[in-house]
Amino acid sequence: MALDVREVPRKGGGPKAAPRPRREITTAFVVSRIAVLAVAAAILLYAVPPLVAAESWVSLALLGAVSAAIAYLYLTRRFIPAKYLVPGTVFLIAFQVFPVVYTVTTAFTNFGDGHRGDKAAAVTAIETGSVRQTPGSPEYAMTAALRGDELVFLLVDPKTKQVRLGDAKGLSPLAGAQVGTTGKVLAAPGLTVLKAPEAAARGQEISALAVPAGDGVIKANGLSRAVEGKAALVYDAGCDCVRGNGDTWMADESQGFFVNAKGEHLAQGWQVGVGLDNFARVLTNPTISGYFAGVFGWNLVFALASVLGTFALGMSVALALHHPRMRGTRFYRIALILPYAMPAFAMLLVWRDMFNRDFGLINQLLGANVDWLGETATARFGVILVNLWLGFPYMFLVTTGALQAIPRELTEAAAIDGATPWKAFRRVTLPLLLVALTPLLISSFAYNFNNFNAIALTTEGGPFPADNPQVGGTDLLITYTFRLAFGAGGAQFGFAAAVSVFIFTIVAVISAVAFRRTRKQEEVYA
């Protein structure tokens, strides 16, 4: 850690202000400085080649500027506070601000399956996807060769064994070539025949070379065969449309598709901005808006029950272990932490299997025949129970910590004043605990409000009523919208992003209100 040994600057500061005293330089200071610079340099070195390859000059300039700024910042002696703030700020931008901005901007696009790339990529995909082999044309045995520096194809018709030379201009007969048994040309006058590795190294050139023939082109199919084919669909930049198969598909920039007169579109589309469409869809789609209230209500119950349940249980256990007469606390603590230490992912799956009606542990232990995850009420009870089990050790830990900070004298004084233990807890311990723990409870609420895993891995949102396969009994907003955005009709990232914005807003509002109330509470107890 750097030690700043400067004195308090003197007021006034005459023309001959004393030179700034030298700061003491510790090893940790040097190491941390080198570390920051090294990380910055590493990111720079790592990111530049791909950015150059992708020709994204703006990002490159930004990266260069940020790196230069960081280097300057850490190589001078000024800007002391900034030296501490910058790493955190950079990470904040990279991992918090950027994802939020990216999500919000995605919400205004139709990014998703069928609309992943740009228009040029869609056009390429449409054209290459429509290339058909010319009927009756031969499958040539192909050998790549060089005429000087120019790549040419030596094409052998398998039936006639006739060798022809193909270049960008067309086909021409080739005399004097020596053909091997497999149809490969071994040598040809005036040409350098490429061996397999040499041809492989020129793979991109080979894929790109198109030899005009008839009304189509001969293109390589791998490194040893070539076929004559023709694209059935061709893009025409003049009309911004795709023609072929006796039809015309006009580019529709509002949908990101090529659409014909009948309103049908080609499969390959591209990403376009759709304005507020995704948000409007969330609000107007009857399967979303119609069930919103029900899902939202259960979502609140689930989050509240999870937070309050885990807190109550965790705190009770912590209080019990905090009692001075308690013995073997270390053993209990280890045992209690276990659920928290297990990977929740695996534990949720184990719980799901334990709830199985015929093969599950719970029914076998109870001798019952309850379809736990098959009925809405029991499934809801089940997921809350599982979440309670997974969550209470955390609350136990933080309460234990907070309890250490409350002096025992306070409760002892309350006892001397004649308060019952319950009253002492209610009036002294609990308020002091809540002052420390409320922010954690609020963040726990926000976490559980979007606890995707707890639902997706146990009930998958089910059970579903016979008349509605889209909204299950235990669906949270997040699992429900995940199903809408990714379950059917392929991935719809734009739509999912719009829904995320809504959920973010809901959680933010609830948290803001809760924090405000906490502040008031703190004022009361302070």
């Binding site: 400085r33 590493a42 790339g117 590795p197 065969r225 399967t287 016979a466």
Partner: protein, 426 residues
Amino acid sequence: MRMRALGVAALATLAFAATACGESQPASQSASPAAPGASASAPAAKSGGTLVIWADPSRVKPLKPFADQFGTENGVTVEVKEISKDNQTTFLTASQQGSGPDIMIGAHDWIGNLVQNGAIDPVTLTDEQKAAFSAKAMQAVTFNGQVYGAPYAVENIALIRNTKLAPDAPASIEDMVAKGKELKAAGKVKEVLCIPVGQKGDAFHVYPIFASAGGALFGATSTGDPDPKQVLVGSPDSVKAFGKLKDLGEKGDGALRTSITNENYIVNFAGGKCAYLISGPWAMSEVKKGGITYDITAVPSFKGGKPATPFVGVQTFFVASKGKNKALAQEFVANYVTNKDVAKALYEADPRPPALTAALQEVQASDPDAVKFMEAGKDGLPMPAIPEMAAIWEPFGIAENAVVKGGDAAKAAAAAQKAIDGSLKH
């Protein structure tokens, strides 16, 4: 001036790092044209070409020797990378960013989605090559009249029977259920039939029964492909089929039960808790471990019903359209893995019935199971590869679950149809 010294040191470190990184590239480049001839013994990056193949974990190991062999023959480096989760999505995202592979291995039903995202290129096979594959496999990898990959393994579900408990192959679903109930009543088994249903249904496994009862997913276009404009999940025939599933369900025969899930259905059969299992080749290692005697036959149909056609899935090599080395990828997919010896060796490393007829014939002698599975799937329906199929799975499964629990078939079918129509509009 210690600070300045520090700055110099930091700059020196930076410069060193930069040169160290910079030097390695020219070094490898200058070596590249050096020895193309020596590549047979050293297929490393010397000639500059690298072929990247992505596969799921179970296929990486079997593929490795062939990839190396191909690399040696062509003087290129071949990398086989393992992708273990969400392979299709991972491939799509990576392709988009330009960090995808040259070749992807996956199920043929991805084709529709991969094509609409411009992620794969058609593969040109000669007529001879096409004829070497089973017709079903070729049909599966053909989409919009184009062949989009080289098939290499065909898999479908069948009825696996514990021959000690049920010596005879059932002639119909009714026979199978009757025998299962009889065994259950006698206390010999715990379940009538081991088929996964779970809390969200399982469209893939129940499809043969559904199809035998007359149900259908899509109508057909004029070319015989499934037509996404005609979703038939809510059609009167499908409602009847859902009704049959209800009869087999918990309030009826008890052959379909929501407590039997994808996690426990194979284990239960292997443990002798049921006499019949509806599953695919992937169940066989577990079944063999259970040490029971078994036989594999086609899933039976209802008495007087339609054939119980299972879905047929075809494992396929795709050429990525955004790959960096497409010529090599085409060479590998069109001219190398279509080779009989490669197909056979792949089978030996990962026993799934080969798509290449000649390879299958050679395998028959040593692996009767593969042939029986193939036989059971000979009337199967190649899984629809249209992207719209994604909209079917979940609503269909949930409708299945609802009727298995005793819900109203008409209501469940109508709700599924509505949900599917709704998501297809977007």
